[in-house]
């Protein structure tokens, strides 16, 4: 640990480590409630009868929805606890998110999400000394295909 660095040796050891794997069921009602919360009336995300007649064959999830509670776009408490235990500062903000969508996600899908810490950096910001962690999540569907990947930035200060 260099003088004054937020990135402790414990945190450095976490880079590249697979933290946890969670299985999500993508449920029709959960998709509808998510679309309603966005205020998105798209029938692909709201109307199962309509959606079943499209090439998707089932209610489609809005981009980034992976089953409730959704983790895409939101780092988990478990991950926070991991980082704080490793010596990271306790105040946390979401920095942003990047998604790559590969296969459609829809009602009835089962996704297995695996999280790993891809990167940890730090710099001085208006919040003071600030740490940025990139958590990479890979979601594999029930057919064994990668459906999507996300990279969330966690800001700690």
């Amino acid at each position: 640990m260099t003088d004054g660095s937020l990135i402790t040796d414990e945190l450095r050891k976490l880079i590249g480590v697979t933290l946890d794997t969670i299985v999500f069921k993508v449920e029709e009602g959960a998709i509808q409630r998510y679309a309603q919360a966005i205020g998105d009336p798209n029938p692909l995300f709201n109307d199962p009868d309509y959606a079943s007649k499209t090439r998707y064959g089932r209610l489609l999830a809005p981009p980034g929805f992976t089953g409730w509670p959704t983790r895409a776009g939101r780092p988990t408490e478990k991950l926070f606890a991991f980082l704080v235990k490793g010596g990271a500062p306790p105040k946390i903000l979401d920095g942003g998110i990047e998604f790559e969508f590969i296969e459609p996600v829809g009602a009835g899908d089962i996704l297995t999400g695996t999280t790993k810490i891809a990167k940890v950096t730090e710099r001085e910001t208006k919040l003071g000394k600030t740490m940025f962690t990139t958590a990479e999540v890979t979601y594999v569907n029930q057919k064994g295909k990668v459906a999507l990947k996300s990279w969330a930035t966690i800001i700690q200060f």
Binding site: I38, P63, D94, G96, I97
Partner: protein, 156 residues
């Protein structure tokens, strides 16, 4: 449903059809339930103050979801969203409620975007867009980018 947009319809600089949104305290509660994000930063005044953001703020992931809608509305059912990213750079504060359904007067947020590149690759017709959410003052609080494949018009 709006007419399907095709690759030939867009050029660099073409604007993505803007989408207005009004964030309210009620909407934040609905989002918390639907997403499963129960961080008190988004509903507890004292907690939000202690965290240094002044008051409860709009979930970054909700603004990201708005940007998702911006793109899926624009590319239509035959378009395919391939990438979406955004940064939660500025805080946004929801309007409070006047009645159970109706928000108090206040700002309206706009999701906007424009095409920055179009190209063909691997048999797909791709468009890259700069996208963002701007607040009532016109400040981009949530800048990002998107990549989508659009259908090409069949040659007759």
């Amino acid at each position: 449903m709006a007419k399907q947009i095709c690759y030939e319809d867009v050029e660099v600089g073409t604007e993505v059809t803007a989408l207005p949104k009004v964030a309210t305290t009620r909407m934040l509660v609905q989002w918390a339930g639907a997403s499963g994000d129960f961080n008190p930063l988004h509903y507890d005044e004292d907690f939000a103050k202690a965290m240094g953001v002044g008051a409860p703020i709009v979930h970054g992931a909700l603004k990201r979801a708005w940007l998702g809608q911006l793109m899926t509305d624009w590319i239509g059912e035959d378009g395919k969203l391939k990438k979406l990213s955004c940064q939660y750079r500025g805080m946004d504060y929801p309007r409070k409620m006047k009645t159970m359904e109706e928000p108090r007067d206040g700002e309206t947020w706009w999701c906007k975007g424009k095409v920055t590149r179009k190209y063909e690759e691997g048999g797909e017709h791709l468009v890259e867009c700069e996208i963002w959410v701007e607040n009532g003052k016109g400040e981009k609080t949530t800048p990002g980018s998107a990549l989508a494949a659009l259908p090409a018009r069949k040659k007759k």
